[in-house]
């Protein structure tokens, strides 16, 4: 068991943190270049090889590592040095409960592609996320700089407000799937429902085509409003544009990380990008079916392949298919976030707060109420 857990942790670290995070910085640059009609990052080269600009993440790391690490006069040294860690560690350990695939049976051994398959998975993510707020708040306070301080204050107000809303927007999903365990949520979405099934159910119509028009049973189809609100709330938690008022270059220079240089700034930068991956993985798991292939259940995949190649090979292939599906959804959600980041201008501070307390909060409570009514009606 410990060895299995260590392998999973190393895998997550290698693929999601060390592998995907640098590539996202490249995606971000390329996305902005495409949207602003530029060529984009292509200058870092090794003897003429640029790899489409993929060398830029490596160049970034070398630059950040070799820069001087400045601690400003009058700063609280310990807090100043600790806060990038407080920001980065929660982002990384949140991957523990993300299901990269289902549970597979190889003869006697079971393979569960979740590092920690706990019953309160989503609560764990929310708990971890609430700790992450300290990174920015303390960074702003400890720098002994008024702009940083303003950034820290803004960050604390924004993150507290959106934490409440973020929790309430997914309550509808808990109600539909009747669980908080992320792997169970993904499993519940590994099926499909008939779009016009209600015709047969309530009107007694029995047309053949009703069985064929199907949608995957994803959270986004049960909770479309919940999906939009959750995405808005969790993107505000990550403090990226259009919600980047704690940094707001035009008003408070760079906000909470103004006095950071070198790799300590790099850690803030990295934690932001790791959080993008977490957001993508979380929305993919809750709303987009996780590892489930649309309209093709696990049994159908394994059954279909094993009739040709044997059960063991079929299960192994199914693991790969599910993992690839999950990663495709994650990359899609990352792309959606990049698209939003480069399309929308920064909101004003009062707009961000109004969106949270006056729009998202009442709407999410209405969503919970409506979901409850529908569930009562459908399930009796």
């Amino acid at each position: 068991m410990p060895i299995e857990a260590i392998v999973k942790v190393l895998f997550i670290f290698a693929v999601m943190v060390m592998g995907l995070a640098p590539i996202i910085t490249w995606i971000e640059r390329k996305q902005s270049a495409v949207m602003q009609d530029r060529i984009g990052a292509n200058r870092a080269d090794l003897g003429g090889i640029t790899l489409l600009g993929l060398l830029h993440p490596a160049a970034d790391v070398i630059k950040l590592m070799t820069k001087e690490d400045v601690v400003p006069d009058g700063a609280n040294r310990v807090m100043h040095l600790l806060s990038p860690l407080i920001a980065a560690v929660p982002a990384i350990i949140a991957f523990a409960v993300i299901p990269f695939g289902g549970v597979y049976q190889f003869g006697d051994t079971t393979l569960n592609l979740v590092a920690a398959d706990i019953d309160w998975g989503l609560l764990y993510i929310f708990a971890i996320g609430s700790i992450a707020a300290y990174g920015t708040v303390i960074a702003g306070w400890s720098s002994n700089n008024n702009w940083s301080m303003l950034g820290g204050l803004r960050a604390s107000a924004q993150m507290i407000s959106y934490e409440v809303t973020m929790g309430l927007t997914v309550v509808g999903v808990f109600m539909v799937f009747q669980t908080l365990r992320l792997s169970d949520m993904a499993l519940a979405q590994d099926t499909s429902f008939r779009i016009f099934g209600f015709l047969e159910l309530y009107l007694g119509l029995n047309w053949g085509w009703i069985d064929w028009l199907r949608l995957p049973a994803w959270g986004i189809f049960y909770q479309p409003l919940g999906f939009l609100m959750f995405l808005a709330a969790i993107m505000a938690e990550n403090k990226r544009p259009p919600f980047d008022i704690p940094e707001g270059e035009s008003e408070i220079i760079a906000g909470y990380h103004l006095e950071y240089s070198g790799m300590r700034f790099g850690l803030f930068f990295m934690s932001e990008f790791i959080e993008i991956i977490i957001i993508a993985a979380l929305t993919a798991t809750i709303f987009l079916g996780g590892w489930a292939v649309p309209l093709l259940s696990t049994d159908a995949i394994i059954g279909g392949i094993s009739s040709v190649m044997g059960v063991g090979f079929a299960t192994g292939l199914c693991v790969l298919i599910h993992f690839a599906t999950f990663m495709l959804k994650v990359i899609f959600m990352i792309w959606v976030q990049m698209l939003l980041r480069w399309s929308l201008p920064r909101f004003r501070y009062d707009q961000v707060m109004n969106l949270c307390w006056k729009i998202l909060l009442p709407l999410s409570i209405a969503n919970i109420f409506a979901t409850g009514l529908v569930l009562l009606w459908v399930k009796g």
Partner: protein, 170 residues
């Protein structure tokens, strides 16, 4: 020693040390608040070791996260020092602290003086005890009246705070 025991000693001592750090750190209110965070998170870890997962999550989310962030917000915004209170008020505050400390100490002593076997009798808990399902069912069936009363109390507190704040703004 099992892994659980070792972890308990680690988090227990962390909780005690950071609690002391919070109280003894009189010069720096922010460092005090951060010590409180460490205390809360270590307590959450101890709840985890007791397999009280929901309590652990709420401990970290509400006490470790939201409440202390609010403390920090106020501390950073006001930057208060003790000199800003009038001397009479300061004496009152100290008296309140002494009364609270003595009360808690008395409670601890009474708890320690009770028959230790009473507390140590192991009992098996039903399946899923303390999970979010059981807690939700208990809260919204047997204790629904108490939940509603508590929410009414909180609502009154919010409205009161709003009125107080509004008078200052106007």
């Amino acid at each position: 020693m099992t892994v659980e025991t070792i972890l308990f000693y680690i988090f227990g001592s962390l909780a005690v040390v950071s609690a002391l750090g919070m109280v003894l750190n009189i010069r720096n209110a922010v460092a005090s608040a951060m010590s409180l965070v460490v205390t809360m998170v270590s307590l959450g870890a101890i709840y985890l070791l007791l397999e009280a997962y929901l309590v652990a999550a709420i401990q970290i989310m509400v006490y470790g996260g939201a409440i202390v962030v609010l403390f920090l917000f106020v501390v950073m915004l006001l930057n208060l020092s003790t000199d800003e209170f009038p001397p009479g008020r300061q004496r009152l505050i100290k008296l309140a602290f002494v009364i609270a400390g003595v009360t808690i100490l008395a409670q601890v002593l009474i708890a320690l003086g009770r028959d230790p076997l009473l507390a140590a009798q192991p009992q098996t808990v039903p399946e899923g005890f303390g999970g979010y399902r059981q807690l939700g069912i208990a809260l919204y069936t047997d204790y629904v009246l108490l939940v509603e009363m508590a929410s009414l109390l909180l609502l009154a507190a919010i409205v009161g705070a709003l009125i107080l704040a509004k008078r200052k703004i106007d």
